[in-house]
Structures are given as C-alpha cells and as structure tokens.
C-alpha cells in the first residue's frame, strides 16, 4: 500500500517506537515565543538540563507586544517582564532571537515561512496551536503545550502517538471574490470544530493546487479550528519557487537536492486515508461567522440556522443574533486585518486593491496589523501604506495584536469586529467583544461600507 504525504514525513522522523506507547518523534525546527516558553526554560533550569540543540530553535516576540512605539520600553509591566525574560533565556542558551526592533521580528507563523526556516518535509513545533500554518509547505507542524516545549528543549524530540490521517479534497473553480479564508471557513462550517480531532489533514484537489503559498498558509493555519493537529498540502512548483531565495532556504546544489527529495513527498496514488471528505469549489461563497466557534459560519447572504441546544443559544445570545438572521448589512464599528491567518503581503494586496480610491466609513475603526517587520516594509514599498492611510485605516507595527487581545489592542464589549483572525471565541478580542471571522477582502469591504457586504455582489 502506498504512503501518504503525512506518513512519509512522520516515518522519516521516528527515532524509536515504544512498545504499547508513543513514538519518539524528532523535531527539525522549534519556534518559540514569549508567552509559552518561560515556564519551559524554568523547568530545565530546575532539573539542571541543558538545551540540547539550540541551533534548531528560533525565537521571536509576538503575542504580547504593543503594536505602537515598539522602539520604546513596553509600558505594561508584566508584558515587559515576559519579553525581557525571553531575551534573557535566549542569550543564556544561545538561541537566535528576532526580538522587538529586529528586522525579522513578527508573528512566529509569518516569519518562519518568509525567512525560509519553514521547508517541505520538516517536522516543526511551537507552543502555539496555529503552528499548523507551516503544513502549507508539506511539513508536519503542530502546536504543543509548555511541558512539551521543555521536552523539545531537552531532547529535540517529543513522545507522541501517531495521529490518524484525513484528506479533504476540493475540486473545481472558486468564484471570483472567494478567498482561501472562505474556503477554510466553509470546510469548518461543513465538518464542525471537532471533526479533525486526532487527525492530520491533507488538503488536496485543484483548489489548493492553484492556491498561492499565502493562501495555503491561511488554510493550514485554520486546520486546528476543526480540531486537527495540523494540516498539510503537498509541495509543488509553487512551494519550491516560494522557498527559493529566502534567507535561510537551501541554495544552489543543496536546493536542487532538496527539491529532488521534496518531489518524492506527495501522497502515493494508492495511499489510504482514515477519513476522506470531498467538496465542490463552486458551492463556496464569501463566508462570515455568526457564533462563538469557527464552525459557526455561513455564506454572507445566508441565514443563521435553526439549531437547538443550550450551547447554541448561549452563543447566539452572546453575539446578539437570532436564528434566521442574515449578517448581510449588519452595521459594524471595528475591522481588524491581521493575525497569523491573514497578515501576509498577499492579504494586504487584496485588501488594498478593494480599498483603493475609497474611504472607510466614518464610524469604523479599521486596524491594519502586518504579520512581520518584513511585511510592514513591503506594505510601504509597494505603496499599499498610502492606500490604507488615504482611506483612513490605521497601520500598526507587527504582532498578534487584536487576534487575542493580550496587548492594548482590544475590541470594546458588545461591539462587532469583522476580523481576519482565526477565533471568534467569547472575549477573544477583549471581554465582551463580538468577533465575526471573514476574509481580508470582506473585512476591507466592511470597513468601507460600515456594514457587512458580499463584495462579489457589488
């Protein structure tokens, strides 16, 4: 029987299999940030264990950093301490750090790919569930808890049971104005937030084959929102040309050798998956969420389904919606374009293309938060900054920002925010905030119109 992409990468990283127990899985790259690493460093210190492979770790500060005045000391004392702790730990253990002010700083899942740290066929982990993003390159990438961060520090390995495999195939042609974010929100709405639990998902079919790397990252990023450990897309010419020329990517003969290897990775034709789903691209419309988990999504023109149950009612009550409501023309006051899901240059190009020559609605606070210093630079160089500023959008510095509202970037209680982030959980963007997940272009259109509109219908 043939092997899946997932099998090939997993099996080539198994150091040993424990009888009646987990595999010892070797980790090629370990990304860390300020929030989920300090307790792992302390754990090592308490047990007098050194960091085993510091050269395979890359650190950045992203979750807890301000997006204004990053050149000044961080005002919030706890945030300042946490970021300072990361600096100290990295210096002590000889770990490369792209901290505040560094030209490579940014959201951990944006900088890995853009620096060429992320490559096909790798195993990657980070103390962050959206590590699944890196699977867009055909790598096995998944989020871990802090105890596991300590395990990787100590041994460059993890003890893990091999997940099951799932393939989600989407064939056909997407309608104009339907973005990768809509595709993944549609899939999660169809399957639910726990459908992927225990599985690694391979996204296959013409829709993903034709998708840019940025789009593939958006899709794999949200595979965790259907409960999956991670998502993967087979590497192809799009992948190789994205990786080529990146700062830490292999070059010359080494790159040729790598590409020859990467070409062996896609799933064999006779590979079997534990679970398979198929969808048709033409059924996918621009999506929005109406509830408090990412599976509660509908096409913009559709109405909130008539489901029952206390959890469903609680969710609608929090959001201020009723069954049968449509979100089309819903007035909104906040728009957030950013997060590890949608803060790459392509996302801002799409948004600015829509915004060019228009003005944001006077009542709307529209926040643009680039995923990295490099994206911020690109926004400026490509003239997108001028477009956003002329339209009245506020451009901030790189970080996770209002996606999880650990810093000052919060949405006020009761307010709706059309957000390109990944989670619409209660209070995610600030206590009482009501998040509506959408694509960058739907968010841009909402900012201009002051309400939710289907930009394919304008």
């Amino acid at each position: 029987m043939g092997k899946t992409l997932f099998d090939k990468v997993w099996d080539s990283h198994v150091v040993d299999r424990i009888k009646d127990g987990p595999d010892i899985l070797y980790i090629d790259k370990h990304l860390i940030h300020e929030v989920t690493s300090p307790q792992a460093f302390s754990e090592l210190k308490n047990r007098n264990i050194p960091v085993f492979r510091p050269n395979q770790i890359v650190a950045t500060a992203d979750h807890n950093v301000p997006t204004l005045n990053q050149h000044l000391p961080i005002q919030d004392a706890l945030s300042r301490k946490q970021v300072a702790q990361l600096n100290e730990n990295c210096v002590e253990h000889g770990i490369e750090l792209y901290g505040l002010g560094h030209p490579y700083q940014g959201i951990v899942h944006v900088i890995g790919p853009e620096l060429g740290i992320t490559q096909p066929g790798m195993t990657m982990v980070c103390g962050d569930s959206h590590t699944s993003t890196h699977g867009a390159f055909g790598s096995i990438a998944f989020g871990i808890g802090t105890s596991q961060v300590a395990q990787v520090f100590a041994s460059q390995c993890l003890l893990v049971d091999k997940p099951k495999s799932m393939r989600i195939t989407v064939n056909g042609q997407l309608s104009p104005g339907v973005h990768p974010k809509d595709v993944v929100l549609y899939i999660i709405a169809q399957l639910g937030t726990d459908a992927g639990t225990g599985h690694f998902v391979e996204f296959a079919g013409s829709v993903f084959e034709q998708m840019s790397m940025e789009g593939r990252m958006t899709v794999c990023n949200m595979s965790i929102e259907m409960g999956a450990r991670g998502g993967m897309i087979a590497p192809d010419e799009t992948t190789y040309s994205y990786v080529k020329g990146k700062e830490f990517a292999p070059k010359g003969v080494e790159l040729d050798q790598k590409i020859a290897y990467w070409k062996t990775l896609p799933s064999d034709n006779d590979a079997q998956f534990d679970q398979e789903y198929h969808f048709e691209a033409s059924n996918i419309r621009p999506m929005v969420t109406y509830g408090t988990n990412p599976g509660m999504g509908i096409g913009i023109g559709e109405t909130i389904p008539n489901e029952s149950g206390a959890s469903f009612e609680k969710s609608l009550s929090y959001m201020g919606f009723k069954k049968g409501d449509s979100l089309e023309n819903l007035p909104i006051n906040y728009v957030f374009i950013g997060s590890c899901t949608n803060s790459r240059i392509e996302d801002f190009r799409a948004a600015s293309e829509y915004i060019k020559g228009k003005q944001k609605a006077p009542n709307v606070h529209a926040l643009i938060v680039p995923g990295s210093q490099q994206v911020a630079k690109q926004i400026e160089e490509e003239g997108l900054k001028d477009v956003f500023e002329a339209a009245g959008f506020e451009i901030r510095q790189a970080g996770c920002s209002a996606c999880l509202a650990m810093n000052e970037d919060k949405i006020p209680a009761g307010e709706y925010c059309v957000s390109t982030s990944n989670r619409n959980f209660e209070g995610r963007q600030g206590p009482g905030a009501r998040t509506i997940l959408a694509s960058p272009i739907t968010a841009a259109a909402a900012a201009v119109e002051g309400k939710i509109v289907d930009c394919t219908q304008i």
């Binding site: 080539s12 150091v15 040993d16 424990i18 009646d20 127990g21 987990p22 010892i24 070797y26 929030v35 989920t36 300090p38 307790q39 302390s42 754990e43 264990i49 085993f52 979750h63 807890n64 919030d76 706890l78 301490k81 946490q82 702790q85 103390g127 569930s129 590590t131 989020g143 871990i144 808890g145 802090t146 105890s147 596991q148 300590a150 395990q151 100590a154 041994s155 390995c157 993890l158 003890l159 049971d161 997940p163 937030t193 726990d194 639990t197 225990g198 409960g227 450990r229 988990n293 206390a310 959890s311 609680k314 999880l404 509202a405 650990m406 989670r423 959980f425 209660e426 209070g427 206590p431």
Partner: protein
C-alpha cells in the same frame, strides 16, 4: 517500563464530588483568557479559571455560574462535548489543577488540551454522550453525589445511578500518572539514540 524520576504528583484513587459545566466546545480562552497569560511561572492561574464566566466586569462573582454555586464542589469537572478546544496554552491545565480539579469528564476532548492535562496530572476521562447526559442528570438531582475514580482499574463509579464506566487511557500515560512520571527524563535518557538518528539523517 521506562525509567523516570518522580516529578508530578502521583495520581491516587479519588473519592470526591463533581462540578457540572454543561456547555459544549468550551475553549481554552474561556478556561483562562489570554490577558492572564503574562506570568512567567506556573502558579496562581486558578484564581482566573473561567474568569469571564465567573466574574462580571466589576470583578463581582456571577451567581449563576457553577463555580460560584455553593451546592457544588469536588475535584471533578464534568463538561460538555469537545472540551479544551482552541489555543495550545498549557495555562488552561494549570488553571484547572491550581483551582483543585484532578479529573475532567467529557464526551470528547481536544487533542492539545488532553496532552497538556496528562502532562500535569489532570486526568481526562472520556465517556459516551449518553453517560455524560446521565452524569449531568445525577448532578441536577443530587449536587453532592459521590464519584470514585480508580485509575489503576480504569473505572469511574457514580453513586445514585448504578453507573460503573470503564474508561480508556494509553498504557504509557497511565503508568506516568500512577507513578508521577513525566516525559522529560525518559527523553533525556534517549539522547544517544537521538544523536545516532541525527547522524544518519544528516549523512
């Protein structure tokens, strides 16, 4: 079996009560909101467990929330389907254990949360949706119903209904919990093998 140092507290047989949280898809942002993740140590997260369901914006306890209901107490949290989805923050497991929970019962757990729980001596017990509904009903009728959790025998017993449930747990993790082992020492003991693997991989 694998040689470890003792690091976690051993999981002993429990005879306790349970607290019902009959909500599905409880995500880790509810268990511990992101604004409380700024600490650099593992202690004290219990104070902010379910913060925004437990306290209003003036920090006053919300009476209807179950943790504020004096009728319920105990070391078991019984929660709706798909508990612990969302963020990988281990702070969620730390908040639950710091508050005093030793066991979470649900009909389904998110992967990362389940792993984090097991790495912190917090036992996730998965039961069928029918059993879960039954347990919620028992707690509705008798808030101080007794529960026995016997990890060694992999049994959950509930007083009042003659309910005896066999639950699943990976043998390796069971040994770790019963003995208070964690994974680090085992992995460190395998460094030679890991180095050999690296040499082969880079050859």
């Amino acid at each position: 079996m694998i040689a470890h140092k003792f690091d976690m507290e051993k999981f002993e047989k429990l005879n306790t009560q349970a607290v019902p949280l009959n909500i599905e898809n409880v995500d880790t942002d509810q268990i511990i909101p992101a604004r409380f993740l700024k600490a650099t140590d593992r202690n004290g997260f219990g104070d902010n467990l379910f913060r925004d369901w437990r306290y209003d914006s003036n920090n006053q306890p919300i009476e209807e929330f179950v943790l504020n209901n004096p009728n319920f107490s105990g070391k078991i949290l019984v929660a709706g389907n798909n508990f612990g989805c969302g963020s990988s923050r281990e702070h969620a497991a730390w908040a639950l254990t710091d508050y005093g929970f030793k066991v979470v019962i649900s009909s389904f757990f998110a992967d990362i949360f389940k792993g984090n729980a097991l790495n912190n001596g917090l036992l996730p017990i998965q039961v069928s949706p029918e059993v879960l509904a039954n347990i919620f009903k028992v707690l509705d009728d008798k808030p101080d119903a007794s529960f026995i959790v016997d990890l060694k025998a992999q049994k959950l017993l509930v007083e009042n209904i003659e309910l005896e449930v066999d639950f699943e747990i990976n043998n390796y993790k069971k040994t770790c919990l019963l003995n208070g082992y964690d994974d680090i020492d085992y992995l460190v003991s395998q460094k030679e093998k890991i180095s050999q693997f690296e040499n082969l991989k880079n050859a």
